[in-house]
């Protein structure tokens, strides 16, 4: 029996291609996935025992090249109405994705999850750009006095001075996206960190001591959940000065209830495991049991859930800024950048909304996908023991 439980390691590896398929179903038809899986590594065991060496997938190449070409050509060169261009662009993207996915599975093994890596790369690039923003050769993002000469509402043109275009003051959108990422990421990651530390501590205490502590925490959590999040934020927005710290604290209130619940549930689960009693039987104090035995077990699921929450808070921050309660212009945030498309700007210059909108979408999608993947792996209910 012990051996069956132990073998979760390899079995998990085996389930990975399936996991990937869950996320990719809407992009990649099942038939293609099936043949690719068999063709590249002979299936179940992924890279660990793949009998087939690394190889170049010709079918992948055959899809990738025209896909990429179509994607590149459709928005600019194609002489057709806008929606046709858009469909061609989307189709090109899908075909290119399917092709590159095959190529990668051929090159890195059958369990290679392209979507996961794309999301990871996106987040890494975004975080790096946000961190390095002051030293990057970006256009002007804030001071409209310096952009009097610059063209206003310039459309995106990849190899020009303004790759993503400019807004109505001639401020560079790429620069604003990057500086907006600083605000968005700082605020939402900071809020999740606050939520994780405070909520995690409260949750572990509640789960460990039960009884009165648990009841009090339960009432607190439920009352926090009973207030609609947007109303809570707007209420706070009216009394607090909208700076990064205050917005992060306000947003952390949204993360708090779920963090408390996660930590409490994890603590309840793990406190019943014999290793907690074993630690006591070895003379560990209650404090030690909480910090050394429970916390490390609760932390992993909490952190992976934090990834998912980050995506929610990015949207929440954007909503606040969109409503004018968050980051105040001219300081950029993705939310207030989208708000610049109010009125007729969106009809005439869709890029004003699309650039921050797509960035927001991609970031939320990436945090979600990676967070869900991590959560599946570290869910306390299926923690491998």
């Amino acid at each position: 029996m012990s051996d069956i439980v132990e073998s979760t390691g390899p079995a998990e590896g085996g389930s990975r291609p399936g996991d990937g398929a869950d996320h990719l179903d809407h992009v990649r038809p099942r038939g293609v996935a099936g043949t690719a899986g068999r063709g590249s590594t002979g299936g179940r065991w992924g890279t660990a025992r793949g009998p087939r060496p690394r190889h170049l997938s010709w079918s992948g190449l055959g899809l990738a090249v025209p896909g990429i070409a179509l994607t590149a050509v459709s928005p600019t060169v194609l002489p057709a109405p806008g929606w046709v261009c858009f469909l061609a662009f989307a189709a090109g993207l899908a075909v290119a994705y399917a092709g590159v996915a095959r190529l990668c599975r051929g090159a890195f093994g059958g369990s290679f999850d392209l979507m996961f890596w794309l999301c990871l790369v996106w987040l890494v690039v975004l975080v790096l750009a946000a961190l390095l923003a002051p030293v990057l050769p970006l256009g002007e993002y804030r001071d409209i006095a310096k952009t009097i000469e610059a063209p206003a509402m310039a459309p995106p043109a990849l190899f020009s001075e303004h790759p993503l275009g400019t807004n109505n003051f001639g401020l560079d959108l790429l620069a604003r996206i990057v500086y907006g990422a600083r605000a968005s990421l700082l605020v939402s990651i900071g809020a999740v960190a606050i939520g994780m530390v405070v909520g995690g501590a409260i949750g572990i205490l509640a789960g460990f001591f039960r009884r009165l502590t648990d009841t009090v925490v339960g009432v607190f959590t439920n009352s926090l959940l009973a207030v609609p999040p947007l109303i809570l934020l707007i209420a706070l927005g009216t009394v607090l000065e909208p700076n990064l710290r205050n917005i992060a604290i306000a947003l952390s209130l949204l993360a708090l209830p779920s963090m408390i619940r996660m930590a409490r549930a994890g603590t309840l689960t793990f406190a019943q495991r014999e290793f907690v009693l074993a630690a006591k039987a070895m003379g560990a104090s209650r404090w030690r049991v909480m910090v050394r035995e429970l916390l490390p077990n609760v932390l992993l699921p909490l952190a992976s859930y934090g990834m998912v929450i980050v995506s929610v808070l990015i949207v929440a921050e954007a909503s606040l800024s969109f409503l004018g309660l968050g980051i105040q212009p001219p300081d950029p945030s993705w939310g207030n950048m989208i708000a610049e498309g109010e009125g007729n700007a969106f009809q005439d210059h869709p890029h004003i909304v699309l650039v921050p909108g797509v960035t927001l979408f991609l970031t939320v999608f990436a945090f979600n996908l990676i967070g869900e993947k991590a959560r599946k792996r570290w869910d306390p209910r299926q923690a491998k023991l």
């Binding site: 029996m1 012990s2 051996d3 439980v5 132990e6 979760t8 390691g9 009884r211 495991r273 014999e274 290793f275 009693l277 074993a278 630690a279 006591k280 039987a281 070895m282 003379g283 560990a284 104090s285 050394r292 035995e293 490390p296 077990n297 992993l300 923690a383 491998k384 023991l385």
Partner: protein, 349 residues
């Protein structure tokens, strides 16, 4: 009847060293939603240094609660009430402060748990499991604790102990994990080891290895062992004395040899006849006893085994039998029954 290998008397004659452990009328009531559950209901026993006491009984009879109460892991608190005394080397465990008990745990008393899967923290390396208590109780340096940990793993028969220290529990097999749990319990040279179903979760082939290991360690280190099991066969040949538990009470206490040769309590007899072979599929062995143990929130009046006992008479349902030695019989043997089973071979003593 065969003779027991050790002095049989439960109460050592005057002049002998005092017993290591004295349990006196121990009661553990667990407060549940349905009422107070008398999980342990008046247990008294003694254990000498270096001796092995087996505690057997169906699951749910209160063996684990007894073991944990003896250890002081279960004390009077919000969820339970403990009364009676547990004297360890003359110290009343339940009169100690929390800090005093923690001092005792992991040094004088060690515990081995039923399920080695869950008795080790999945995110802590094997080394840390061992060194934490070595450093806390023994005040060893990091390096000394590591060396001692390696030595302990070697002692419990784990190959390549140095490499194991850096592994996580899930990288070890069930048997290896149980050896680690034993090594943890032994870390600071306990005088008493409480092994609560140490083999129940293991494969049959591994069970014997672990039990043999406990025997060898006892011979080498000389600690006393309380070996708890629902399976009489686990205890057979390993315990000097056996206490049979039913519904929170000891119903028969005797030298192992005497008990196996001729059970006097009807419940012991039923347990024995229900356990033919070691390689029986688990959980099938007790089906030979009809019925189930009583509800411990509201136990029946009189003998608690009466509803399932084939010797039961009217008196059994009225008066609760006390755990007594038979007048003129084996003084080391006690049972709680109005109509004990006749010894098959009456000429034993």
């Amino acid at each position: 009847m065969s003779q027991s290998p050790l002095p049989a008397d439960t109460r050592p004659p005057a002049g002998d060293p005092a017993p290591l452990l004295v349990v006196d009328d121990l009661r553990t009531e667990i407060h549940t939603r349905r009422g107070d559950m008398k999980a342990v209901d008046g247990v008294s026993l003694t254990l000498n240094a270096g001796e092995t006491l087996g505690i057997v009984g169906e699951s749910g009879s209160g063996k684990s609660v007894l073991g944990r109460t003896i250890m002081g892991l279960y004390t009077t608190g919000a969820t339970m009430t403990v009364s009676g005394r547990v004297l360890m080397d003359g110290t009343d465990i339940h009169a100690l402060t929390d800090a005093g008990r923690r001092e005792l745990w992991g040094s004088d008393v060690g515990m081995v748990f039923q399920d080695p899967m869950s008795a080790l923290n999945p995110v802590k390396k094997i080394g840390l499991h061992l060194t934490e208590s070595l450093r806390r109780h023994g005040g060893l340096s990091r390096a000394a604790a590591r060396a001692r940990a390696e030595e302990l793993l070697r002692l419990v028969g784990i190959p390549e102990p140095g490499r194991r220290l850096g592994q996580y529990p899930h990288e070890l097999s069930g048997g290896m994990r149980q050896r680690v749990v034993i090594a943890m319990a032994l870390a600071n040279g306990p005088k008493l080891l409480i092994a609560d179903e140490p083999t129940t979760a293991l494969d049959v082939t591994v069970q014997k290895q672990i039990l043999d290991l406990l025997g060898r360690l006892q011979a080498e280190l000389g600690m006393a062992i309380i070996l708890v099991s629902h399976n009489l066969q686990v205890v057979a040949g390993r315990a000097n004395r056996v206490a049979v538990m039913y519904a929170g009470r000891i119903v028969e206490l005797a030298d192992a040899d005497a008990l196996f040769a001729a059970p006097r309590h009807p419940y012991t007899e039923a347990l024995l006849s229900a356990v033919p072979r070691l390689h029986h599929p688990p959980h099938s062995r007790l089906e030979a006893i009809d019925g189930s143990p009583p509800d411990m929130v509201a136990p029946p009046q009189g003998c608690r085994f009466a509803p399932r006992c084939r010797y039961a008479g009217d008196d059994c349902r009225q008066v609760s039998p006390r755990l007594l030695s038979e007048a003129g019989g084996d003084a080391a043997r006690a049972f709680a029954c109005h109509h004990p089973v006749r010894p098959v071979n009456a000429g034993g003593s």
